[in-house]
Symmetry: C2
Subunit: 395 residues, 2 copies
Amino acid sequence: MSQDRQPSVVTAGELATYLRDGRARSLSELAAAFGLSRSTVKQRVDELLGIGLVAQTGEAVSTGGRPSSQYRLQADAWLIVGIDLGATHSVVGILDLNGQVLDSVEAVIDIADGPQKVLDGAVRDIHTLLERISRSGQDLMAIGVGLPGPVEHASGRPIDPPIMPGWNGFDVPGYMASHFQVPTLVDNDVNIAALGERTIAWPDTDELVYLKVATGIGAGIIAGGTLQRGAQGTAGDIGHIRVASGARNVCRCGNVGCLEATASGAVIARELRSRGLDAADSAGVVALAQQGDIVTTQLLREAGRVIGEVLTACVSFLNPSVSVIGGRIAFAGEHLLAGIREVVYNRSMPLATRDLAIVRARTGGDAALIGASVLAAEHVLSPEFIQELVAQRAA
Amino acid sequence: MSQDRQPSVVTAGELATYLRDGRARSLSELAAAFGLSRSTVKQRVDELLGIGLVAQTGEAVSTGGRPSSQYRLQADAWLIVGIDLGATHSVVGILDLNGQVLDSVEAVIDIADGPQKVLDGAVRDIHTLLERISRSGQDLMAIGVGLPGPVEHASGRPIDPPIMPGWNGFDVPGYMASHFQVPTLVDNDVNIAALGERTIAWPDTDELVYLKVATGIGAGIIAGGTLQRGAQGTAGDIGHIRVASGARNVCRCGNVGCLEATASGAVIARELRSRGLDAADSAGVVALAQQGDIVTTQLLREAGRVIGEVLTACVSFLNPSVSVIGGRIAFAGEHLLAGIREVVYNRSMPLATRDLAIVRARTGGDAALIGASVLAAEHVLSPEFIQELVAQRAA
């Protein structure tokens, strides 16, 4: 045997991963791609047909010889639920495996009502949506949830979330499993926004930093192609980094000089109110900026410079190729981004910013919803998960 | 076929990865671990025996039945060369696959002599070492090189390295291949020090930041278990992050307030000289600190606080579980680390520092040498590389 070549092999899960680009392929193409026989590849394709993940797409015109069937991953064969929960909003959507929103529903909530009440609302929304798109709960494969606070990703439990009374340590996947017999993946809202933005707008980028600038400020970090959560899941929790220009600002955390106490939507709104302007919250800041109010635009540019200082440190540490600025304040015109760019490009080493794009989020308000679904889709499309489904079906 | 269970498979490369813990195992144990038949596992083991990576380790006492042979990875079957080049030093070593130094030789060099002269010296050192340990060049499998500047890891070429005239774009792997027909992997010295420290001292840690505090300041970042190089290979190039307390300090980069212009060994030495003390360089700083000079210890603590400010930002972004402080200045007593700890623990969110260790490097001066060998060993122990060797042998 040691004189033979090592036989190459592929599992159904690996084949599914290969087909995730959505392109239809013939058995011959697949056999060539893996260096395997057509019959071996056919066995794996049959397994994927058996679990409904792959569809046969009719006869392709072949170059001479018999016409050949083609196979592609059915992105909408399996349904994924995305749930984006904020302090005061809930967005529940049903998406396909590629993060395309099939339908969604928004509601005003109070996250402080606690997990049962908030999640029960989401469960009702899921049933409503399934009915609206005329699909069976049988097609639902997984649920992704984004929460506005720190989450222990492995267990899906919030950890000491500051604005979520009643949620600390709550078993979100366990609660959802009592309603739907599918896995539930949970992460914090900024992490999933980073995932969503990457999937939709920057699929070929392995180094991406997503900054959310809203009432608070947070970051989601993709490095080496992987969402980085850190040792305790607090990676990207940048609101309390000390900034040079923040010396006079007392933060709710008890320290002074925090980024969030200097450049967040809440701080800008407060400053505008102190000058007699009508800005109850981040939405008020955006409204004033869109009216061209000069005080607001000046404050936004200055906030951008402060955020740029922190992003410069991030660029030095991680050398991303894309920095996405999202969150409500990012959509208050160009001034915030102009301030960020000014500082980052001026303060960074030339090589680190040679190909660095600093851009507004393209997914807009849907980033978290899409990201929640991506988190769940990644799970069910993993070779291990698919392998288990194939084995269950075969047993 | 769709009614059969998916046959499990393992490649020789995957089996080698499994055996990397160094423990000897019987065929039955291996078969059980992979859910395969003994005969299938035996084929893969024979392939690894054939390329010399695995050895049979005599008969184990089995619990009844016939005694069974055991197999383990031979860490010293293959030799790895590590080369640690600094501005003025060269350390060349021969190491085993686990990063154990079999022998090494140090020399004083000038990196500005250019790549041919410096690398020719390393080539002579390798021949000397092979002779000293009485091993053939045939056993040499790969070379790892650490350089004191930015490196494009994929090509192994330095990119605009500030202190390495003549090295810009030089094809280090190509040059080494003209002397030894093995792959050469190149990275910057701080990245490989992070790898070395992790391998030797923190093998179970997936989130580690290594700060080198010497004449300059740099960082190596391991996140999600992977060394992060960033989009252009400048990840960890933190010397020019602006620090609040550095406003008066002009940096060689042309900006003011850079970390390196405020808290590096070079800056501390200059400050000591301006006060009439004898500190030509970082080594002079260490000597004064070890004599208990109070001005030096105060400057070290203050430098620690400044570095702590930057490390706090890193902790917020990445939430590491270990921050290793290496480089010559880290060994000038406890004052630097005390200053770092004071700021990081005071300024970070409690959850991020709950289990954060801030410790001095354990590998000391060998971190870069070991890391260079780890970089090369990872390459030759990859399933793909082993698979290719097996196929070559079988062909």
